[in-house]
């Protein structure tokens, strides 16, 4: 088993940009991606803000090379995964064992829900091409086939921590020498299914979300995809450009408290962060930025904040939720935020937590509220927590920290 796992490439598509450069520029200009619903055909249009990717399926299809009737999740996945792979600039894959480990929460639901409406009226109706890629794994395969990756393909679905677990699993496959290169992350498109699901849970903010604010009212749903290219130390040494950073720590834990709610003490989050720190051999004082899960719900932010207070005490590092820009992209969030964390390490960036006014009375935590670059950022902790108590934390570290 070898040592390091390095980040050689990154790609993302979100409501604030169709690639990494556009996303970074939106951060710098403090332009969030929320707006009225434009693409999703739903009764909630003009009632709930969401953070949609600004391109239509037809535009995404042209960029991705997949047909426009393909699930939007696959279109988004393809674009971000391709960007990551191109960014890594690995000249020759022929001798490398390559994997694609992707995550999503509802597979091809955006098109299967169209099928289902017709099917309900008559079981012989509905176009089969709209349901053929319903499975989560089908989305991964559409993209793997396009990228030409065949050695190892898998899909993870642990709700909102899904793609953090995909990155985590990828790193372990590299450490065990099973694979040399893995494109890992996740994608989710907005669907009527998820919008109505979260609406039924009554945790959607009718205004733009306010993560970690005392007057937070819930989350805004978003969509997108984010992938990293993880490589072994041997591949890292052969890269044409230097790797972004290392993945130095990761941990998965379960809150085991409730199917949807987090425990008041944030047990799962605490265990995930503590475990990741232990694995990386770092102290809390080594962490220079925390990319929060920070959904903007009463429950998540209090539990996560409590766990941070418990672990970091008074001297917590800059913290922020980039969901204040991208919305909560569910199965994609861990991948997208891992990309932002990697860029934070590389470029010394602190992302602002938009719309923050008042600290939570229980905790008094004050997040980073302005954009900063060229800071000294050695280690970034990225949190992803989900339904089912699934909590995962990743730590990205500077190559020479």
């Amino acid at each position: 088993m070898s040592g390091g796992v390095f980040i050689a490439g990154a790609g993302a598509i979100t409501a604030i940009g169709n690639n990494i450069t556009e996303c970074l520029s939106a951060f710098e200009n403090e332009q969030p991606g929320m707006a009225e619903i434009n693409w999703l055909g739903t009764a909630h249009r003009n009632q709930l803000p969401v953070a949609e990717v600004k391109l239509s399926n037809e535009q995404l299809a042209i960029r991705s090379g997949l047909p426009a009737h393909t699930s939007r999740t696959a279109l988004l996945s393809s674009i971000a995964a391709r960007e990551a792979l191109d960014d890594a600039g690995i000249a020759d894959f022929s001798s490398l064992r390559t994997g694609f480990i992707s995550a999503n929460t509802v597979g091809g639901m955006d098109v299967s829900e169209k099928f289902f409406a017709e099917f309900l009226s008559n079981p012989a109706k509905g176009r089969l091409r709209d349901v053929v890629n319903h499975e989560c794994g089908s989305i991964t395969e559409l993209v793997a086939d396009q990228l030409g990756i065949r050695n190892y393909i898998s899909t993870i679905s642990t709700a909102c921590s899904s793609s953090a677990n995909a990155i985590f699993f990828a790193a372990r496959l590299i450490r065990h020498g099973i694979l040399d290169v893995v494109v890992a992350g996740g994608a989710d498109a907005l669907t009527k299914f998820t919008v109505n699901g979260f609406n039924a849970l009554m945790i959607l903010d009718k205004e733009y979300c306010k993560p970690f604010d005392d007057e937070r009212m819930g989350l805004n749903l978003g969509e997108g995809a984010g992938y990293l290219v993880l490589v072994s130390d041997k591949v890292a040494a052969s890269l044409q450009k230097e790797a972004y950073c290392k993945l130095s720590g990761y941990q998965n834990a379960n809150d085991a408290y409730h199917q949807t709610a987090s425990s008041p003490g944030g047990t799962g989050s605490f265990l995930a962060m503590t475990g990741a720190l232990q694995r990386s051999g770092l102290q809390t004082s080594d962490i220079d930025y925390i990319n929060l899960h920070g959904t903007g719900t009463q429950n998540n932010d209090l539990a996560e904040g409590t766990a941070i207070r418990r672990l970091f005490g008074e001297s917590y590092p800059p913290i922020s939720s980039t969901k204040s820009y991208t919305g909560h992209t569910l199965g994609a969030s861990g991948g997208i935020e891992a990309v932002f964390s990697v860029l934070a390490v590389k470029h010394g960036i602190l992302y602002p937590n938009l719309r923050f006014k008042t600290p939570m009375t229980e905790l008094g935590l004050v997040p980073q509220t302005s954009f900063r670059k060229d800071q000294l950022i050695r280690h970034v902790l990225s949190n992803s927590f989900g339904f089912g108590g699934n909590c995962s934390s990743l730590i990205f570290s500077k190559l020479r920290a």
Binding site: T42, A43, H44, T105, G107, E113, F116, A117, F119, L120, A124, L128, V131, V132, E135, C136, G137, S138, T140, E141, A144, R150, N151, Y152, I153, S154, T155, I156, S157, T158, A159, N165, F169, R172, L173, H176, K192, F193, N196, G197, N199, A200, L201, N252, A253, N254, D255, A256, Y257, H258, Q259, T260, T267, G268, L271, G386, F387, G388, G389, N390
Partner: protein, 359 residues
């Protein structure tokens, strides 16, 4: 490092759950759909919790609980689940509500329980288990991915015991959609005659199997899980053969050491052609047995094969219903499972009698 199967449990269309003889009373079914035999869940799960659970959650949680109970383990170092389709019934219920109520506010219960990690999460919740928890959802690789994850945790000594399993359900809706894809037999066939009458199409199935894997031997252990690998879309049977030989070689095993091969034949002549071709090459003169006539075809069916292999090694008997014809040769020490799902997802599992039990 050796990995052991300490305990296992399966809920399937056969009598496999609880203290039952090993596939000696096969359940026959004429049609193209096999359904699980559901146990009395009230013996296994708190009645209050049971009321809220949909069928797949009950099946998965009961199978996992029985597996843990067999090993007297209540805090596994990891809980890893594979499911290709996830919680289809809850997904269908919520989707129907959304469509029929035209997106008026619906109760959230079905949505909450529709997420793919619900079974793994419910097991953690019942055990109050804060350890590693993951769910793989990759079609015909779902269970295999979960197993690989479990093996890595054990080899890294992150855990001493890992609960790993699969669960997939067939609902009336999913059956009717999958049937439209031409997956299943058009004319009714008895599951026990599935291979005698090769045709286009197989029989649909469902079920759950869980395993407690350990990196320590303990008395009562079923078997050793030597290795697992997957390969994706091999171009032809030659490439499949190459992969099989490479896997055996990586396991430092020769095909002549394999006492029994469990194949994923499903009675669909379009799919079984691959196994037939391998029977003339790498598997020639090997005793080959089947399992999909017992549990039906579904993406995580290979977990049923692993349950069967572990039970063969523990009991020292190969049930004749599997098609085993060498009743006098029951000294099985090493089993290879080879499965493919729709020619895309291929997997190999090597299971053997644990070294400690040979002494």
């Amino acid at each position: 490092m050796k990995i052991y199967i300490r305990a296992t449990a399966a809920i399937s269309p056969q009598k496999t759950f609880g203290a039952v003889p090993f596939l000696t009373e096969p359940v026959t079914c004429a049609g193209n759909r096999l359904q699980t035999i559901e146990p009395d869940y009230t013996q296994l799960i708190d009645a209050k919790l049971l009321r809220r659970m949909s069928r797949i959650i009950k099946t998965g949680v009961a199978t996992a609980s029985a597996c843990l109970r067999e090993a007297d383990e209540n805090n596994p170092g990891g809980i890893i689940t594979g499911t290709a389709y996830g919680c289809l019934e809850d997904t269908g219920v919520f989707l129907t509500q959304v469509i029929e109520r035209n997106e008026e506010l619906s109760p959230p219960t079905a949505f909450i329980q529709s997420t793919h990690n619900t079974v793994g999460a419910q097991i953690a919740l019942l055990l109050k288990c804060h350890n590693y928890n993951n769910t793989f959802v990759h079609r015909g690789f779902s269970f295999e991915s979960a197993l690989l994850d479990a093996l890595l945790l054990l080899k890294d000594q992150e855990a001493e015991n890992v609960l790993v399993g699969s669960v997939d359900e067939l609902t009336d809706t999913s059956f009717s959609i999958l049937e439209r894809f031409g997956l299943y037999r058009q004319a009714p066939v008895s599951n026990l005659d599935l291979y005698a009458e090769p045709e286009k199409g197989t029989i649909a199935g469902e079920g759950s199997a869980f395993f407690l894997l350990s990196n320590q031997y303990s008395p009562g252990t079923y078997a050793q899980l030597d290795g697992i690998t997957t390969f994706y879309k091999p171009g032809n049977s030659k490439e499949a053969e190459k992969q099989i030989r490479a896997f055996l070689s990586a396991q430092e095993t020769d095909i002549k050491d394999i006492d029994l091969v469990i194949t994923g034949r499903n009675g669909d002549l379009r799919e079984d052609v691959l196994y037939e071709s391998l029977q003339d090459s790498v598997f020639s003169n090997k005793p080959l047995v089947n399992y999909k006539h017992l549990c039906g075809e579904y993406p995580t069916a290979v977990s049923f094969a692993l349950w069967m292999a572990a039970t063969i090694l523990k009991t020292g008997t190969v049930p004749p219903v599997t098609g085993y014809s060498r009743a006098e040769e029951n000294d099985i020490k090493k089993i290879l499972i080879y499965n493919h799902y729709g020619h895309k997802h291929h997997s190999l599992l090597l299971v053997s009698q644990s070294a400690e039990d040979k002494r």
